[in-house]
């Protein structure tokens, strides 16, 4: 049986698929790229939504993981193209699946370190300490000349996926779309699982979780790491979309953007990030063409959402969230 939320989700998923297919059929690759951007940003926000929406962990540092994913793609492909081995004599690669694994593991390890320290705090302190760690990564990238420093790193030819020509916008879109759907599926599974139960309970009432004998810290740290891994995967795709990675992917603006996407779409909702990313990119495109100050109007909308529609777009379309 389809609940109202499932219907909304299904429509969103189909729209995101059909629109670029149609654009491609009408010879409008630009719109395919726009849809790809939506899918990737949605995936990045989906990752954050696991920590923020389910776990209540307002990380203001997820740009670090997004950027680490991007740099994994950039660094691996630059070594592959120049035939220069990396540390330990390991070769680079232009194969996306390998890049994704490296991106996810690297971000997971960094998230383990950042989370282990940050999760000893909560509330505003947690927000600030995650921001501080992300800024450390940002300045590290700027001051490290080997991979472009401030100028960033170009990916001359988009990395490859077995059996596809990823330089075709539609093929690359489909890769991103399938990865996004897989991410959404994983999120749904985790949310309904034992771990998801404990993670959400720790947001609602930490004392309660400890009182039944579950360590909130361990649960949150695990959630934070998984969240970072998903966002890093999106970062690797984003670098391939732009064929360019720079420290701006690591900047605090990016962290803020991801939070904005979640709030626009609906915190903790399965398709909140998709709705938020679609709204954001559509806005950027429609208003960005009219004025450079389009973010002013985005700010007004955000204000409206926070004041009058706390559930975001999903809240408006599908009503209040239901838990088991």
């Amino acid at each position: 049986m389809l609940t109202r939320e499932n219907t909304v989700n299904l429509v969103l998923a189909l729209l995101l698929l059909v629109a670029p297919l149609a654009a491609n059929a009408f010879g409008q690759p630009f719109y395919v790229t726009l849809a790809t951007r939506i899918a990737i940003l949605a995936l990045a926000a989906l990752g954050l939504n696991l920590a923020l929406g389910l776990g209540g962990l307002v990380s203001f540092g997820h740009a670090a993981f997004f950027g680490i994913g991007g740099y994994a793609a950039g660094i691996l492909s630059s070594h592959a193209l120049s035939y220069e081995p990396m540390i330990f004599g390991l070769p680079g690669t232009v194969q996306m699946p390998v890049i994704w694994i490296v991106a996810v593991i690297a971000a997971g390890l960094v998230a383990l370190a950042i989370g282990a320290i940050s999760l000893r705090t909560s509330g505003v302190y947690f927000i600030m300490i995650t921001l501080a760690f992300a800024q450390m990564v940002y300045y590290f990238a700027i001051s490290w000349p080997a991979y472009g420093g401030e100028d960033g790193l170009s990916i001359l030819v988009r990395n490859q996926f077995p059996g596809l020509n990823t330089m075709k916008p539609l093929s690359f879109f489909l890769v991103c779309y399938v990865v996004l759907l897989a991410g959404i599926g994983l999120f749904a599974l985790i949310r309904a699982s034992r771990f998801g139960t404990a993670l959400q309970a720790a947001r609602q009432n930490e004392t309660r979780v400890a009182t039944v004998g579950i360590h909130p810290y361990r649960i949150r740290l695990t959630g934070f790491v998984i969240s970072a891994m998903i966002t890093a995967l999106a970062g690797a795709l984003y670098a391939d979309l732009n064929r360019f990675v720079s420290p701006s992917m690591l900047s605090w603006h990016m962290s803020g953007e991801l939070i904005v996407l979640i709030i626009l779409g609906g915190t903790g909702r399965l398709f909140g990030p998709v709705a938020g990313a679609a709204l954001y990119v559509a806005f950027e495109f429609a208003l960005g063409g009219l004025t450079e100050r389009w973010q002013f109007f985005l700010g007004l909308i955000l204000l409206g959402v926070v004041l009058f529609a706390r559930g975001g777009l999903l809240g408006l379309l599908a009503g209040k969230a239901k838990h088991g």
């Binding site: 771990f195 959400q200 009432n205 695990t222 088991g324």
Partner: protein
């Protein structure tokens, strides 16, 4: 003599100049309800917090089920079998009553790191949780979010969660608070039977319930236990009468 389940020896906790717990020694024996009474500000809550591990005592020992639990945190003490309820209901408000109890069941089973199996379709969680809800009389409210339950029902749900942990001792912090006369009566009957499962340390202001239930009573005043004894001993104790009971006795 039977070994007490919970034994507190010479516990001291000071906040600045205020000794909220001033050399408290009490114990909880198998099968009994030991009521802890005292005026507001006597240090009952502080004592409970120390037993549960949310506040560290300055000195003294807390032994539970034969071992010193002073170094353990709240979650570890719960795993040892210390089940508690709160003065103000403490639940996961967005979750249904059922999923709240299932959280306790999953904690008891010791595995919260399952990532893929939906809990609502996991019979090993749903069935025991449902059975406990039935026992506390909440079966027909199982699917309602905890936030939508009445005050009394939330208190029952807390007890259900403590039951799900199959605790070796229950620490009930004012379970009667805010209950109507009918609810208090029903809960009194329930607790009366519960002591056979595990002993209860009962902090309670409702003297009718305390006198009906308690095997022993300890009276806490200004952080000190001024008397411990049976209901009759406490009722006739002149110090207790002036300090606390007044016209109740």
């Amino acid at each position: 003599m039977v070994e007490p389940v919970l034994q507190i020896d010479n516990l001291v906790k000071a906040f600045g100049a205020l000794r909220a717990t001033d050399g408290v020694s009490i114990d909880l024996r198998p099968g009994e309800i030991h009521a802890l009474i005292g005026p507001n500000g006597a240090g009952k809550s502080t004592l409970i917090h120390q037993i549960c591990g949310t506040v560290r005592p300055d000195s003294g020992t807390i032994r539970f089920a034969g071992e010193d639990i002073g170094a353990l945190n709240t979650a570890e003490r719960a795993q040892k079998g210390l089940g508690r309820t709160f003065q103000v209901s403490s639940l996961a408000p967005e979750f249904s009553a059922l999923r709240n109890v299932m959280l306790a069941v999953q904690a008891k089973q010791g595995s919260s790191f399952g990532f893929f199996r939906p809990v609502m379709r996991d019979r090993s969680l749903v069935d025991p949780a449902m059975a406990i809800l039935e026992r506390v009389g909440l079966a027909d409210r199982a699917r309602l979010p905890a936030a939508e339950l009445s005050h009394g029902e939330r208190r029952q749900l807390e007890i259900a969660m403590a039951l799900a942990l199959q605790s070796k001792a229950f620490l009930l912090d004012e379970p009667m608070a805010g209950m109507g006369p009918e609810g208090s009566k029903r809960l009194t009957g329930f607790l009366d039977a519960l002591r056979r499962e595990a002993p209860i340390l009962l902090v309670e202001h409702d003297m009718d319930a305390v006198f009906a239930l308690a095997d022993r009573i300890s009276v806490l005043v200004y952080g000190k236990v001024i008397a411990t004894g049976t209901v009759d001993e406490i009722r006739s104790n002149p110090t207790v009468r002036t300090a606390y009971l007044g016209d109740h006795a």
